[in-house]
Amino acid sequence: MPIRGNCTRATKLHMATVPVRKTGLPDASGRFGQFGGKFVPETLMAALTELEQAYETARADAAFWDELNSLLADYVGRPTPIYFARNLTKQLGGPQIYIKREDLCHTGAHKINNALGQILLAKQLGKKRIVAETGAGQHGVATATVCAQMGLECIVYMGEEDVKRQAPNVYRMNELGAEVVPVTSGSRTLKDAINEAIRDWVTNVETTHYLIGSAVGPHPYPMIVRDFQSIIGTEARQQFVDRTGELPDYVIACVGGGSNAIGMFSGFVDDPSVILVGVEAAGEGLEGKHAATMSKGRPGVLHGAMSYLLQDRWGQILEAHSISAGLDYPGVGPEHSYLKETERAQYVAVTDDEALEGFRLLTRTEGIIPALEPSHAIAHIQKMAPGLSPDQTVLLLLSGRGDKDLDTVARARGVKL
């Protein structure tokens, strides 16, 4: 294997242009097969049409992409590198493991890619007020960041439970000038923050853009978020091929709502030899409290889209659980449901304990502290490695860095900070 593991700098990437829609989906009604759609109160329908039209105009506008790509390069620090994890590869003794480093993005996670794209759309729509939901706080921080940069008012809804476990991110948002509103309804986590953000949007729709953070929600959001995150997959594919001369055998990413995964998968979905694996949160175990929507849920409608959901027999949404706030969501983006149903991607689940082990594994072998969300993907690689050979390759998407999770990890390990 003369090429693999070679540490030469990745070839300088051409600046990404307009996202390529390899699947041709969603269709005109916003569907990925039976999934997706626009299941929202009538008040929002006109705003969704307006957003769709603004996005289609922007998509065809070279100046829009020039501005976005220049911000992605100079402000976010793109392209993010891929890194050959030599020590992790050696330790696991199986496949060659490469890591796409979205943790190196400005603000520490991939969320900024979408936040920047949508803030430029909001400007085109003439909206001066931005609302967002956040789970782990990464999307809230990304939104607060781009609002600070663009001089827009920013309100972030965050479940009271998440406000507690992600205190440093709450403070970051405050310093950035955003108002963080704790949500006390329902399970007080991401799903309730989305409910509250939608209620705000219904009330202030004429002045406000809802900057949704994951590839969920009514059409056109899952499409827009995927397109803005597809830069991850576009870069990673080119970098990997440049580095190794081949495509990876496996591409692995964590899935909550699934924006990082869908951005990564979109680069490889047309390469049938590449096995796409999405890793959900099994929480305390699949028979207990978890957030493994596609492993244990069934199709239904939440937050404007038809997709897999955790629900009881009466169609009431169940509370999800994960140690990772970013995966603690009882739904999933509709395109993931489609990739599952068409068997183009596989979805597996990893427990809190396994994710904590994955967190330590990457930290100790490579000196990279991962967020708890992608720690689930690391844990899955740890599980699958013994079954793979050294001539196989795995490309892991490291969606964010773990600084925000140190409190949670310390608590889980019984350490008082």
Binding site: P41, T43, A46, D192, I194, N204, G300, V301
Partner: protein, 273 residues
């Protein structure tokens, strides 16, 4: 008469009587499962023209705090689509003839199976459905089942609705057209904005269906103003507040008293049509 005709007839009768129709919303199973039938009966006896029986949903993103809380309490009390059907059946057995509309969110209906849900609803004595998160472009499969079982599908139109979407909703809808008076979620407000007048006239230009105005309506004065330009008023959160304001034993009586307090507002000083 099927459900569609029955609901439309209720508006016609009220208007012919010199009144705006009152469509009153109650959350099924709130404050307890046992109070639902007495509350429906009290609201009917007090003079409501249409009763909206709310099916609680865990994630009611179109609701303000009042109905969020009543929905949450009703779910904790054990409310399911089945208990909603049972309550309607018992209310019919107790002599309630007022048209009854089930109001809720799509996922519990979808989980039940669209055909099975509509069959059971019609069988229990319901006349129609209002689904807050099911705009007309997504409603075709449910509309087919409503048609099969003679249930009205009452469309919601909003201040932001385009003329095209109003036309499509009115064409496929039946019973009445529900005009949302505000940008926002349900809940009591001090004023009902006259911005709704423009919407009502746009709807009037597209349909002969009766028009009711709801969201934020809570007092006889609000109803009196709506009675000058619409065929009916829809009231929810204020009735839920009355129901919640005391012990469950007195809930039905308080509900009836509240409905009676609206009647003077509903009466038109000059018959509009």
């Amino acid at each position: 008469m099927n459900g569609k005709q029955k609901i439309q007839q209720a508006f016609t009768t009220a208007n012919a009587d010199g009144r705006a129709a009152l469509a009153m919303f109650v959350t099924s199973g709130f404050p307890t499962l046992e109070t639902t039938v007495p509350i429906i009966k009290a609201v009917a006896d007090a003079g409501a023209d249409v009763i909206e029986v709310g099916m609680p949903f865990s994630d009611p993103l179109g609701e303000g705090l009042t109905i969020q809380k009543s929905s949450h309490a009703a779910l904790l009390a054990g409310t399911t689509p089945q208990t909603c059907f049972d309550a309607i059946r018992e209310a019919r057995a107790a002599g309630v003839t007022t048209p009854i509309v089930l109001m809720g969110y799509y996922n519990p209906i979808f989980a039940c199976g669209l055909g099975e849900f509509c069959r059971a609803a019609a069988d229990a004595g319901a006349d129609g459905l209002i689904v807050q998160d099911l705009p007309t472009p997504e409603a075709a499969p449910l509309l087919d089942e409503c048609d099969r079982y003679g249930l009205a599908f009452i469309p919601l139109v909003a201040l932001t609705s385009t003329d095209e979407s109003i036309a499509a909703s009115c064409q496929r809808g039946s019973g009445f057209v529900y005009c949302i008076s505000v940008l926002g979620v349900t809940g009591v407000r001090t004023q009902v904005s006259d911005r709704i007048l423009g919407l009502v006239s746009r709807v009037r230009a597209k349909t002969d269906l009766p028009i009711a105005v709801g969201f934020g309506v809570s007092t006889a004065e609000h109803v009196a103003r709506i009675a000058t330009y619409a065929d009916g008023a829809a009231i929810g959160s204020a009735l839920i507040n009355a129901i919640a304001d005391g012990a469950p034993e007195g809930a039905a009586e308080r509900a009836g008293e509240y409905v009676k307090s609206l009647l003077p507002g509903a009466r038109r000083k000059v018959v509009a049509k």
